[in-house]
């Protein structure tokens, strides 16, 4: 067993996730494929969203996959970095907005 949690080569093995539960994996991949297909949003737009979300959920596999995919689909470096900033801004905002809860609590207990 390797002594680290993330290995870049594991991304290529994602397809084998069905080994332990084929039905659910098949359903996941079918749904995943459909979700990313051209539809109300283009596959290109979805790729940039996926890149931002990959940063928000901090998944190194998804960051790898969607950095390549978004660039392949024609987004440029500046556009990709702006998407990452949006993910970061939402994450930062999401943390900060809880500050209101903190303030509420403090006001509740303070004299």
């Amino acid at each position: 067993m390797t002594n680290h949690y993330y290995d870049a080569a594991d991304l290529g093995k994602f397809g084998s996730i069905g080994e332990y539960q084929k039905d659910l994996a098949d359903k996941f991949f079918a749904w995943y494929g459909a979700a990313f297909a051209d539809s109300a949003l283009s596959a290109k737009e979805k790729s940039l969203i996926a890149l931002a979300v990959a940063h928000a959920v901090q998944c190194p596999y998804c960051i790898d996959a969607y950095s390549s995919d978004a660039y392949e689909k024609g987004w440029n470096e500046a556009q990709m970095m702006e998407a990452v900033h949006i993910a970061a801004a939402i994450k930062g905002g999401a943390a900060l907005v809880h500050g209101v809860q903190m303030m509420n609590k403090v006001k509740e207990i303070a004299m």
Partner: protein
């Protein structure tokens, strides 16, 4: 930038390239790729045989005014290999005798730099063949003597196929050299002016997208839509079709893959994306490719790897239709580039 040959780079030698393609850089056991032949055997396509051969592709010289980073020909201003009129006569003789060839696809380098280019075009037209010229666009502006090329193309109803790696300056110039994007735009406007790429003009102007980096092309149809919108909006340019092609791991693109540490990952990517229906439609099945020195190959890529045709006569002077039609196509690991994803040929994706 110089050609690999002028740099004295070992990759200028086709055998070195084949060795890397088959055994990896360090002959490392970990780098053992499934042989392409095995993949074809598994789907009943080996030996790979031609179908109706109707395209006669001729590389009339390696000389080029550009030195693109991905060039599989290793072309450039320092390359002097050029087809002679004698070899052209031999090609014309075959084209005259063998009526199955409907299209003559002229490529290079910059084919227009061959001093006999215009003469050759006129002779081929006399035989009633459809002509494609792979024009790199900037050649039209490179020198006064080429400024009238759009008109010349028009006079001979030539189909113009031109590479424009992307509709933005940055990606195009990184692959093809500084200033190439701007000159390409000007050349496209000149072609539009004489009617190329305009509806109902009958003058076909097709563009070629190939990835500026170590990745595969996205959907050809979507890309064509984006190119058309962007080029029209920004520069008022129209064109007919966009061909999205995959870079094959040979010559200067192989050098780029090795230098950037992307070689193994790229090969794995090509193999993972192997598509049996693309394999059934590879361009070598309907093409004969002739080199500047008259030797015959299954395709332009085999030509650059010096993999000559598997037939008794290997030179155009010894052309025998029956041998060409019954031959087996020579395959190697670079062929994975033609069968990945939607597939890739000179005419773009081979499946939708």
């Amino acid at each position: 930038m110089k050609s690999l040959k002028a740099q004295g780079n070992i990759l200028a030698d086709a055998h070195e390239q084949l060795d890397i393609l088959e055994h990896g850089v360090n002959h490392d056991d970990a780098f053992r790729l499934v042989p392409f032949q095995q993949k074809l055997e598994a789907i009943g396509l080996f030996p790979l045989k031609p179908v109706a051969i109707d395209v006669f592709q001729v590389n009339i010289g390696k000389m080029c005014n550009q030195v693109c980073r991905h060039c599989h020909v290793d072309a450039g201003p320092d390359r002097k290999e050029i087809m002679t009129r004698k070899t052209m006569y031999q090609c014309l003789e075959v084209l005259q005798k063998d009526v199955s060839f409907k299209t003559v696809d002229l490529t290079g380098g910059a084919p227009e730099m061959n001093p006999d280019f215009r003469w050759f075009v006129e002779e081929i037209r006399k035989l009633g063949k459809h002509i494609i010229v792979r024009c790199n666009l900037t050649i039209i502006l490179a020198n006064k003597k080429y400024h009238d090329l759009p008109l010349f193309f028009k006079q001979h109803a030539i189909e113009v196929v031109s590479s424009l790696p992307y509709f933005t300056r940055n990606r195009t110039d990184r692959q093809r050299g500084d200033g190439v994007f701007e000159d390409s735009i000007k050349a496209l406007q000149m072609l539009n002016e004489v009617g190329y790429g305009k509806e109902n003009s009958g003058l076909l102007l097709n563009l070629v997208y190939n990835p500026a980096g170590a990745f595969l092309p996205p959907s050809q149809a979507n890309l064509e839509k984006e190119y058309k919108e962007a080029l029209m909006k920004e520069y008022g340019i129209s064109f007919n079709n966009l061909f999205a092609i995959t870079n094959l791991p040979i010559s200067r693109y192989l050098d780029y893959l090795l230098q950037s540490g992307n070689y193994e990952k790229y090969m794995e990517k090509l193999i993972t994306a192997f598509n049996p229906s693309a394999a059934a439609n590879v361009m070598c099945r309907n093409t004969l490719s002739v080199g500047w020195d008259g030797f015959m190959y299954d395709c332009d890529f085999n030509q650059m790897l010096d993999l000559k045709i598997d037939a008794p006569g290997k030179h155009i002077a010894a052309y025998q239709a029956a041998d060409i039609k019954n031959r087996s196509i020579v395959l190697n690991q670079h062929c994975y580039g033609c069968t990945a994803g939607a597939g890739s040929s000179c005419g773009g994706a081979v499946t939708t």
